[in-house]
Symmetry: C2
Subunit: 251 residues, 2 copies
């Protein structure tokens, strides 16, 4: 949606109108890949994950923490939503370490796995009525920036902020929710709890690609998050009110 | 100096070791020009000022607010200096308007002239013991990012923060200070006050290029800034203590 000006604009309208304290964690869309290509830096993906070599890290830092983050912040300001953009390095918001390659075949390069979230900083900013816009760039505390999955950052922020607030974690993607038929947006499962999750899995009614997302959702619920909602970015306002999408609850 | 890793590293050592509340306003060095060239976007300068067309604005936003800002922040974190990077859009830190071309011959494009600084935000962050790192990207409050001169941002921040603090504004450049002989770094004028400034100008002892910088310095002193120091970036620690460079004082 970041690549579609009209869709992004309407999403930011919806985000700006959320009354509660709010954080937006964004990814990078196709722009980083395009810029990499223009600069002659071949972009490699393994299982959908970007291999971040030193030159690619420069590209994603420029695109995610620079162009996309600052444009989203400026667009929110235009909607009277006072926003502040952060990378994980800013105020030590998200500290990570360089991922060790699990096997010698795949080296993800400068990919960061999260160690800690600076929740007091985030709380101070949120309590100052700032909406926080987080780019998926973290750092290791020793001067190294790292590329980190945006979904994972969202989950870690949500878990950590559960200390202070009743947190709803909303994953926005291209589908209307968790579907019984992956090709039919009208088959959204409105609510999933641990019991129905076991049942859905045993009956193989859930698309395999959704399992890691749902495992993450339950992990978040077991670690301080009140509610997880999965749905279509275009329907953010309804998602916030649990009126569409899939709501995942713990019991 | 941003283009020289060793010099930047030693500058950040010095900046990190400053005990007082501190803000670093950085420019972009040669990287934006280089990236523009790589992307086939011709970079135009008129009287040393960059003409910021829409494509160039993308480039400077990526380089200044993304790559340079986040790398400086990460480098400061590595020095146990908790820093937060801001563009002018973040938290409405610096609001500007698109410069009107003074004559029809020169259109600076998306160049921003400053209207307001959000000093309460900056004060809150500084009082939270965060060092602030500001990239020279501002916004107009209506969703438009703008490219603004870093010296001007530094001056406006210093003036506005004079409400709360005793502010020293330090301009770091490639010379050791204001020189009697522009080619001899040993001819630094240690102190300039309004009387000696009139005298130096009337005797034409000051290099013409320094006059706008000094006019700005006196303007800052007349608007809430306690002290202005001009000198070499490599000597930051001594500059902070007024032990080198040129100190400009009001009377």
């Amino acid at each position: 949606m970041i690549d579609d000006e009209a869709k992004l604009s309407s999403f930011l309208d919806a985000f700006a109108s959320i009354k509660e304290r709010k954080i937006l964690v964004h990814g990078g869309g196709k722009m980083a890949t395009r810029l990499g290509e223009q600069l002659g830096i071949p972009q490699k993906l393994v299982d959908g994950r970007r291999i971040t070599d030193a030159e690619t890290l420069k590209v994603v830092t420029m695109v995610y923490a620079g162009y996309i983050n600052k444009n989203i912040v400026a667009q929110l300001q235009a909607r009277d939503c006072n926003a502040i953009g952060l990378s994980g390095a800013d105020g030590n918001a998200v500290i990570a370490h360089k991922r060790k390659s699990e096997d010698s075949a795949t080296d993800y390069g400068f990919a960061g796995d999260i160690d800690a979230v600076n929740s007091p900083l985030l709380k101070n900013l949120l309590d100052d009525e700032l909406a926080i816009v987080v780019s998926p760039i973290t750092h290791d505390g020793h001067g190294q920036l790292l590329n980190t999955n945006a979904d994972t950052i969202a989950q870690e922020l949500a878990k950590t902020l559960g200390i202070y607030y009743s947190v709803t974690l909303i994953y926005c993607f291209e589908k209307s929710g968790v579907l019984l038929d992956a090709n039919d947006d009208n088959t959204v499962i409105p609510v999933i709890n641990p019991d129905s999750y076991v049942e859905l899995k045993s009956e193989q009614k859930i698309f395999a690609g959704m399992i890691p997302k749902l495992d993450n959702a339950f992990s978040a619920l077991n670690n301080g998050v009140k509610k997880v909602i999965i749905g279509k970015a275009e329907q953010l306002t309804l998602l916030v009110e649990s009126k569409t999408g899939t709501t995942i609850v713990n019991g």
